[in-house]
Amino acid sequence: MDPARPLGPAQIDAVAQLGVSTILLGGIYALIAVGLTLIFGIMRVVNFAHGEFLMLGMYLAFWSFTLWRVDPYFVLVVAIPLFFVVGLVTYVLVMKGVITASHNVQIFTTFGLSILLQNVALVAWSGDFRFVRPWHLSVALRIGGTTFNLSQVVAFVIAVVLTVALVAFMKWTHTGRVMRATAQDRDAATLMGIDTDRVYRLTFAIGIAAVGAAGVLVAPLYSVYPTAGLQFVLLSYVVVVLGGLGDMAGALIGSLIVAAVEVAGSYVFGIAWKEIFYFLLFILVLVFRPAGLFGQRGSETLGA
């Protein structure tokens, strides 16, 4: 496009469409990433199995829809408490033992969990691509020159509501303050009488509940298969590193940036290349601003 030429209505529509797509996509990415960044920020553990909980959420939506014709948005009511419990159980069985272990132990523990869950899904439900097609997926909304479907919009709205609720919970409730205090200084928090084990348990459960909910929400928009979590989790690492690991507000902005890169990249270069842009962005950020665009300099070398 010649920059000197004034934009015609077609280009304005294209730009508007890209903008709206970015925001819709960014909202969903934010809900995926916010659980990851919460777990990292408080527990100092990168959960490499995060994407697998998203995948499980997608399967929950798929089976509820296929077996009982339950709309994914109603499944959400069950999914959030269910994944909260899944998170609690996973914490007690797997994470509790490695919370004070070295990075390498934590990396391989969560990686082991990821392999385990992926293949449990493969064995139980086979590697077939599955689809959830509720009625609202085929309802197209037109506003101005932009078009999108109802599922995307509802998923976006719910994702934003959940993300904002989580941020508000962290900021204004007593439990949220206790969690943030533990994130800042584990030892000091213990000395103040905070039960850090309870904080970690709660953190992990909330993080998993968020990503499980995200899985249910995205199920109609993407195909469901055992390694479906991988593409999202790689993307949410990018989001989380951009925003600064552990920074929830940063994750929101990071999600929008990644969504913008993805949307603009696929528009200009074709959909096949879209992932390469945010990985390149990821490596560039790691090289030049490893603490994130807004993070404190040097926090990455502490390894936290």
Binding site: L116, Y237, F282, P290
Partner: protein, 330 residues
């Protein structure tokens, strides 16, 4: 302790591998042996960075894939020897290894692991999409042309080829245990600040360790592609493959010379056995061995982080203490 007893495990292992093809000519058995040795060598290569230098990468499939594709493309696109491809792969891997090594100086722990995954994903996408040159996601069949120059070898010859590489890499690891640079690396791994305070060039050492590890991985990548006869991006650049190198090493004993090979034997045998057991069942059920993988990884890092060699050392120490106790009583 003499050199022979210190390396008794390796002597038994590599000696056994050398004798077996003389006795057993079963193609399936020899195939398993080649894979055990190649996976062992690849894990040993990973161990140089992940074990000795403490730079845990989950993107070593990058270098494996570079080697595999360099060999396959050199043969199919340019009609040249895969050895030339191996050389090219090593050169490219050194370049990529320098980048990752540079990152290892800026990033710690999980950040470093994430950056290595990102590299392998960028390569995966690039190779999958660049259809004109790499044939994209369909992969490239590597033609079999008999002869050493074209790496078209029989099963027995492959065993000795893989064995030579395995012994060479074992030698590299032993060198790292007993040389000045090896002690310096141990210092970097255990406490980087202290090592630096002692005047060790920690940054340069990490870059060297990661780069050497990358080059060694690339060589095995080329060999693997020529041996198996097929490369496709979804496999050679997969995160699963990167985890496999690490998994073998951790289960066998991270930071030990023999560990990667012990881990490779255990995992490869387990995989072959479980695949055979579950092959007749419904599709997807072969994934059950990966379920066991995952569980094994979680349990080992938690309960036996020193792996098989660590367990063996503990048992030996207990036996020695028992023997001393018995003598004292007598």
């Amino acid at each position: 302790m003499t050199a022979l007893t210190r390396h008794a495990g390796a002597v038994v292992l590599f000696g056994g591998a050398a004798v077996v093809p003389l006795v057993i000519r079963d193609a399936f058995f020899l195939d398993s042996l080649v894979l055990i040795l190649l996976w062992g060598a690849l894990s040993a290569a990973w161990n140089v960075a992940g074990g000795y230098a403490g730079q845990v990468s989950i993107g070593h499939a990058s270098f494996f894939g570079i080697g595999a594709y360099a060999g396959a493309l050199m043969v199919t696109r340019f009609g040249k020897s895969p050895w030339l491809g191996m050389l090219l792969g090593v050169v490219i891997s050194i370049g990529a290894g320098l980048i990752i090594g540079f990152l290892s100086n800026r990033l710690k722990g999980p950040y470093f692991a994430l950056s290595t995954i990102a590299l392998s994903q960028v390569l995966l996408i690039a190779v999958s999409r660049w259809r004109g040159f790499t044939a994209g996601g369909e992969g490239i069949p590597v033609p079999f042309r008999p002869g050493f120059a074209t790496l078209g070898l029989g099963h027995v010859a492959w065993v000795y080829m893989a064995l030579a590489v395995a012994i060479l890499y074992y030698g590299v690891e032993v060198y790292l245990e007993h040389s000045r640079i090896g002690y310096q690396l141990a210092g970097v791994r255990e406490d980087e600040d202290a090592a630096e305070a002692l005047g060790i060039a920690t940054r340069a050492l990490k870059v060297i360790a990661v780069t050497v590890s990358a080059a060694l991985t690339s060589v095995c990548g080329t060999l693997w592609a020529q041996y198996v006869g097929f490369v496709d991006p979804a496999y050679v650049f997969s995160v699963d493959l990167s985890v496999r190198f690490a998994l073998n090493t951790i289960i066998g004993g991270i930071g030990t010379a023999l560990g990667p090979y012990l881990g490779s034997i255990l995992i490869t045998v387990l995989e072959t056995y479980l695949r055979a057991t579950f092959a007749g069942m419904k599709t997807g059920f072969t994934g059950i061995y990966l379920v066991i993988y995952g569980a094994a990884l979680i349990l080992v890092v938690r309960w036996a982080p020193e792996g098989l060699t660590g367990i063996a050392a503990r048992l030996r120490a207990r036996a020695a203490a028992g023997a001393r106790g018995a003598r004292a009583h007598a």
